[in-house]
């Protein structure tokens, strides 16, 4: 019996090959897309879950007014450990400014390369964070001075398959070059963390060790990321409630000297990656909102794919009413019919599942490359299981409907073909098509909004020259020293207009900030201002629009006490823009107070991405010894200029790898998340539309088949082909228009919500809706027209005879 069902199921499948294929492919696409998204979401939510007793680990962060900051002053960690018995372990990580890339060298093998995510860490690092050792003893590794722990990846890059224990590597940063002894190697596969360190250097060392030891201020230099682990069974709430008094005890006096109100707060370790997006994060984090969006997309894709599958399956089964009737007359009872239809749809859904696995396996490498993950198909068995359950449910649901609906009819009725045009089934089917298209239309609308906004932010005038601006980071002491030589040699090429050096450039997160107050104002009426430290020609190189005054110039000693500010800063100080030059602003540092003279005002420019509004900004003269970024304004042949600079670099700084970027690219990196998200939304929008079109196509062919006789009779009675085509098209287009009406407000809401991420936004205009409506109608038209025209032009005599 079972074999018989299977045989019939298979034959049915093969007989309507195109139809079955479309149906299976539709579901498989939906399942595959959903699987990818689920894998992605699960991967994002599994950061920092590998640490032992992770619920007890927190990061301590600070807050001034509404500004949150991920790092703390140096002595905080020890203070917490001493004052609170419930604090089991503390550890600090120092991501020193301008050391985001370290130059590593294994002199023995003459291997030399830059590496990021290298942190200075306290020796307790591995007591708090769980890592598996490949070589050496992790818990003791960082206890002695000038030691380093490498990730397995970096160790392999430096030493190959050799055991690197107790070998020496040199680490170069802008302050100098120092030797470190490798004391351990940890395994870095399968351990996802918001830190994901490549190497850890002991906090006691020859370069910045001295500086770290001297840090005893509880207010300044908030550069240390402090992590703590609470004793098992201790109350976090209780601990948290004691923090304000503790902080006041140690930091109160110092902070009130600066008139700053600062508080501490705890961030659970597992929440950092997805939920924390505050100042001075150690590395860019994920984003919970986008995970919600992706989950929603996954859910809807799966829903429309399943709905589609059911719709097509049931549409097809109605053609089989006659078969049901005959079988009943031949003695089939309801049960056996139910089994038969269930079996068929289960077989189809099983095939779809297999196909979806093939699809996922095929696209996973590309997807991995795109999202920069190493996902694999069965990484999360739970996800796989869920997909299987959902597939089975889809199969059952789409089998149940025809099974119970068709087999409930009396055989005479079915054999007379009287169940055609069943009203409730038709309404249900049409409702499902409306639903599918509503989802697709929403996705199209949101995609158009995203696309327009991305286009807008990339082409907006930012107030400086963004393209053809080369940046070379100075990452070692020598390169800083050779700056002047580099500049002079660089400018010898006619393609390079100007060159300068600065502590930062637009699009880069600024670490330097201070509060200033204007003439005649008090310390309490200060203006919080970020500032860049630059060499002369900086304004000219970046092509800021200087409204008043002058740029810094060579040989002007007074420039050290001068500042150039932006319009917003001038406004905040209460200075008129044309009268600001020559006025002074004052800052206090501990007991001292110093004043700077304003020598210029620049037009507001976007020093940060368009997520942020423009804030007060100052530019001061650089003290030559500081590490910085070399910036060259190129006008002309880019390749030629680049070749020239590389040549110059290699003669002036031999053995230091030539590394460069462009301001435009770096600036746009701020939109990396949005770009990634928008690409994902685009891709899944296409998949959704594809599935919806499959649904529409299936329905169109189903209805064309159903109306074959009607169309035949109308034709014989003299209806024109165009009239018949129009009559059928109208039915479907009405559905699509209803879908558009339902989807538009939803899409508007989601689009607006997404745009809230930006301080500079496009407005969602009616033209967007018009474009979407036209596009959707066009897609729908293309999908169904072939079927409709085919049915309208079919020879009426033939269709009447076969009926």
């Amino acid at each position: 019996m079972f074999k018989n069902y299977l045989k019939i199921a298979w034959r049915n499948l093969m007989k309507k090959k195109a139809f079955s294929l479309v149906n299976i492919f539709g579901l498989a696409t939906g399942l595959a897309a959903c699987m990818l998204l689920i894998l992605y979401v699960l991967d994002e939510t599994s950061y920092d879950s590998h640490h032992a007793e992770v619920e007890q680990i927190y990061r301590v962060a600070t807050q001034v007014e509404d500004k949150k900051w991920a790092a703390t002053p140096a002595p905080l960690a020890q203070g917490l450990k001493t004052d609170f018995p419930e604090v089991e372990t503390v550890t600090r990580i120092l991501n020193f400014p301008n050391t985001d890339n370290l130059l590593l060298e294994n002199t023995e093998k003459s291997r030399k390369f830059y590496v990021n995510k290298g942190y200075y860490a306290d020796s307790t690092f591995f007591e708090l964070f769980t890592y598996e050792s490949k070589y050496g003893n992790l818990s003791k590794a960082l206890a002695s001075p000038n030691t380093v722990v490498l990730s397995e990846t970096i160790a392999t890059k430096l030493f190959g398959s050799e055991n690197p224990l107790n070998k020496i590597i040199s680490v170069e940063i802008p302050f100098g070059k120092l030797d470190y002894t490798v004391k351990a190697v940890f395994k870095d596969t399968g351990t996802k963390s918001h830190l994901s360190p490549n190497l850890l250097l002991s906090m006691q060392n020859g370069d910045i060790g001295q500086w770290v030891m001297s840090q005893n201020s509880w207010a300044n230099n908030n550069l240390f990321h402090t992590y703590l682990k609470l004793q098992k069974g201790s109350s976090t709430a209780n601990f948290q409630s004691k923090l304000p008094a503790f902080f006041e005890r140690y930091a109160g006096e110092e902070l009130s000297a600066y008139s700053i109100k600062k508080t501490l707060f705890l961030q659970p370790l597992q929440d950092i990656y997805l939920k924390s997006d505050i100042g001075n994060e150690i590395a860019p984090n994920g984003n919970m909102t986008y995970l919600y969006i992706f989950s929603a997309i996954a859910f809807f894709l799966l829903l429309i794919a399943c709905v589609n599958f059911m719709n097509l399956s049931t549409a097809r089964s109605e053609k089989r009413a006659k078969e049901v009737g005959v079988r009943k007359v031949m003695g089939a009872n309801k049960d056996s019919l139910v089994y038969q239809f269930l079996g068929e749809s289960m077989l189809l859904s099983l095939l779809a599942l297999l196909l979806s696995i093939v699809i996922v396996a095929a696209v996973l490498p590309a997807f991995n490359a795109f999202v920069q993950k190493s996902l694999s198909l069965f990484l999360y068995p739970k996800a796989t299981l869920w997909i299987m359950v959902i597939t089975a449910m889809t199969g059952v649901l789409s089998g149940l409907y025809p099974a119970f609906y068709l087999s409930s009819f009396k055989p005479v009725t079915v054999l007379k073909g009287r169940i055609k045009n069943n009203l409730s089934a038709t309404i249900l089917r049409k409702g499902l098509v409306v639903f599918q298209f509503a989802v697709s239309v929403s996705l199209i609308l949101v995609s158009v909004v995203i696309w327009k906004q991305m286009d807008f932010i990339q082409n907006k005038d930012l107030g400086f020259k963004k393209e053809q601006q080369l940046v070379i980071p100075f990452r070692s002491e020598n390169t800083v020293k050779n700056y002047t030589a580099l500049k002079n040699e660089t400018l010898k090429n006619s393609n390079i207009v100007t060159a300068t050096v600065g502590s930062t450039y637009p699009g880069f997160e600024l670490v330097s900030d201070m509060s200033f107050y204007a003439e005649g104002k008090t310390k309490e009426e200060n203006v919080y201002m970020k500032f860049a430290q630059v060499d002369h020609d900086y304004i000219e190189t970046l092509e800021y629009n200087l409204l008043q005054g002058r740029d810094f110039s060579q040989g002007q000693d007074t420039d050290i006490e001068s500042i150039i500010i932006n319009e917003t800063a001038a406004k905040n100080f209460g200075y008129d823009i044309d009268k600001a030059v020559g006025r002074q602003i004052t800052y206090e540092f501990g007991e001292e107070s110093n004043s700077l003279t304003i020598i210029g005002v620049v037009k507001d420019f976007n020093h940060q991405s368009l997520h942020e509004t423009i804030s007060p900004y100052g530019i001061v003269k650089l003290d030559q010894s500081q590490p910085s970024y070399f910036i060259a304004n190129i006008n002309g042949d880019l390749d030629e200029a680049l070749a020239h600079i590389e040549g110059v670099w290699n003669t002036i700084n031999p053995k230091v790898p030539f590394e460069y970027s462009f301001i435009g690219d770096d600036f746009d990196k701020n939109y990396a998340t949005e770009k990634k998200t928008s690409t994902i939304v685009f891709i899944f929008m296409f998949i959704a539309i594809f599935i919806a079109c499959i649904g529409l196509f299936g329905l169109a062919s189903f209805s064309a088949e159903q109306r074959k006789k009607e169309v035949g009779i109308r034709r014989v009675l003299g209806a024109k082909i165009s009239e018949i085509t129009l009559m059928q098209l109208k039915d479907f287009l009405v559905l699509v228009i209803i879908a558009i009406l339902v989807a538009s407000p939803l899409a508007y809401y989601f689009g607006e919500t997404w745009l809230q991420n930006f301080s500079y936004q496009i407005s969602i205009s009616w033209s967007l809706f018009a474009i979407t409506t036209c596009a959707t109608l066009l897609i729908a038209l293309v999908t169904i027209s072939a079927q409709v025209i085919k049915s309208a032009t079919a020879n009426p005599v033939k269709s009447l005879r076969t009926e």
Partner: protein, 221 residues
């Protein structure tokens, strides 16, 4: 006695009016009879046949089939009864297009829980008897109308029913094909003792039967 209809009425309500499809039908059928039902179009022939075949219900009267009171039986019992004793032949054959001749013949046996080996033997026997062994792997569309109806009759007979109900079995066939089917019916009736009730519009076909029942507006005349 194979079956007995006593004062059968069947009606539908249309616009507050009762329209009779069958009116006071009395009919006794003995085993081994070959009955032809005749009458103008719309006179209720198909309706009567469906009532006898238990595919349709009636509103009043009594129906006994092999000493079972059909009118009091539950749906499920009724289905079991016709499954076991009645074979149907349709004007438009109603073969399943997706199954081969052989599989079409096998289908009713599947629902009657015959074992695989038994089914094979019975199908082979039928193919043999109807001389269609060569066609066993063809699909219905590959057969002529007469051949399809031959398969239809074979399918109706395969589970050894006592009664064959045929609604215009030759309606779609030409005269030569009709002749063949009628000869077959006659042979089945005479040699195997199968009871046959057929609906027909042709006097010639009706003459094969031993008795003719005439219907007019749902009434026996």
């Amino acid at each position: 006695m194979l079956l007995q209809l006593n004062n059968i009425f069947k009606w539908v309500n249309s616009g507050g009016q009762r329209i009779f499809l069958l009116k006071d039908i009395n009919l006794d059928v003995e085993e081994g009879e070959f009955i032809s039902v005749m009458g103008p179009s719309g006179s209720g022939k198909s309706t009567l046949l469906n009532v006898i075949g238990m595919l349709d219900t009636f509103d009043e009267g009594e129906y006994n089939f092999l000493h079972e009171c059909v009118h009091t039986l539950k749906e499920k019992h009724r289905a079991n009864l016709y499954k076991e004793y009645i074979g149907f032949v349709f004007q438009s054959y109603h073969l399943l297009d997706d199954l081969t001749v052989q599989e079409n013949l096998e289908m009713p046996l599947l629902y009657k829980k015959f074992k695989g080996s038994e089914r094979k033997a019975m199908v082979a026997d039928m193919l043999d008897r109807f001389n269609i062994v060569g066609k066993k792997d063809l699909f219905p569309v590959q057969l002529s109308g007469g051949q399809q109806q031959l398969v239809g009759v074979a399918r109706a007979l395969i589970a050894n029913p006592k009664l064959i109900l045929a609604d215009e079995p030759t309606g779609n066939l030409n005269s030569q094909q009709s002749e063949e089917i009628m000869q077959l019916f006659k042979k089945l009736n005479e040699e195997d003792g199968v009871t046959i009730i057929q609906v027909t519009h042709s006097e010639k076909n009706a003459a094969y039967g031993s008795r003719i029942i005439n219907l007019l507006d749902g009434r026996k005349v």
